[in-house]
């Protein structure tokens, strides 16, 4: 009984939560969140890894 009710209740709860989130515009600011890992020190457009023998300040291959 508990099992059956949880199999029904949980997905319903999940879908309801999804509907609530969409209604409240939780998904509108997503691109801002995608950018949150960047900042002025490590901005968008700059690679942050290189081989230790790459000359410093060399431009990595252009996109």
């Amino acid at each position: 009984m508990l099992f059956v009710s949880s199999v029904i209740v949980l997905p319903v709860a999940a879908l309801w939560a999804l509907r609530w989130a969409v209604r409240h515009g939780e998904f509108k600011n997503l691109d801002k969140t995608a950018l949150s890992i960047f900042d002025d020190e490590e901005p968008v457009g700059r690679m942050t890894d290189r081989f230790p023998d790459a000359p410093r300040n060399s431009k990595p291959s252009r996109s």
Binding site: L2, F3, S6, V7, L10, A13, A14, A17, H24, E26
Partner: protein, 203 residues
């Protein structure tokens, strides 16, 4: 908007769901299964393993036999378990009632052992096979378990326990190989592996 509590709730509910479905539900369904009396023989099944066999189970467990051997027979027509004579019927939940731990295994580097106690009843075969699988099963990749045996100086007559070995595996003259207690109980465990009692649910 503080997402934290919502994410936490979601994380909690998702694992709760599978815990309910895959752990609690089976426990409710057959966690209290009992032994059954077999009509044909009047015996209770599954039987409690005798003491020596139970000790042998510990040796099986300690040496990781499960990593090469399974103890589950799949249903006829699904795989070739029954065609290979690994069992007369598939194994069902009741077969494992007394096992702690249940050692179904996941690899068949070697054959399934559910019914090895039906298939191979010779103590000598088992002792020789454990001492060096090449004796009974040439080409086998099972390792030899010589450390379950002791090599000692032979007296005027061989000990009653001394293992009969073909010449190329026998120790040098004046020595004999004697199974340690671990080898003996392990063989008792293997001989106790039988799941051929006719069960109504396995028909």
């Amino acid at each position: 908007m503080n997402y934290g509590p919502i994410i936490f709730l979601g994380i909690f509910l998702t694992i709760a769901s599978s815990w309910l479905g895959l752990v609690l539900a089976p426990q409710i369904q057959f966690g209290r299964q009992q032994e059954i009396k077999i009509e044909e023989t009047g015996e209770v099944y599954p039987p409690v393993r005798p003491g020596l066999a139970q000790q042998g189970m510990e040796i099986y467990k300690a040496n990781g036999c499960i990593y090469c051997h399974t103890q589950q027979v799949r249903t006829e027509g699904y795989g070739a378990d029954i065609a290979r004579n690994w069992g007369q019927r598939r194994t069902v939940t009741r077969d494992y009632l007394h096992d702690k731990p249940v050692m179904l295994g996941t690899m068949r580097t070697g054959p399934d052992l559910t019914n090895i106690g039906v298939r191979q009843t010779s103590v000598l075969w088992h002792l020789q096979h454990l001492y060096d699988p090449q004796i009974t099963s040439k080409g086998s990749i099972m390792p030899p378990f010589r450390f379950l045996f002791e090599k000692r100086k032979a007296g005027d007559k061989p000990s009653p326990d001394a293992l009969a070995l073909p010449k190329e595996f026998a120790p040098e003259a004046g020595f004999e190989i004697v199974p340690k207690q671990e080898a003996k109980v392990l063989v008792q465990y293997l001989l106790s592996l039988k799941a051929n009692a006719p069960l109504p649910e396995a028909k």
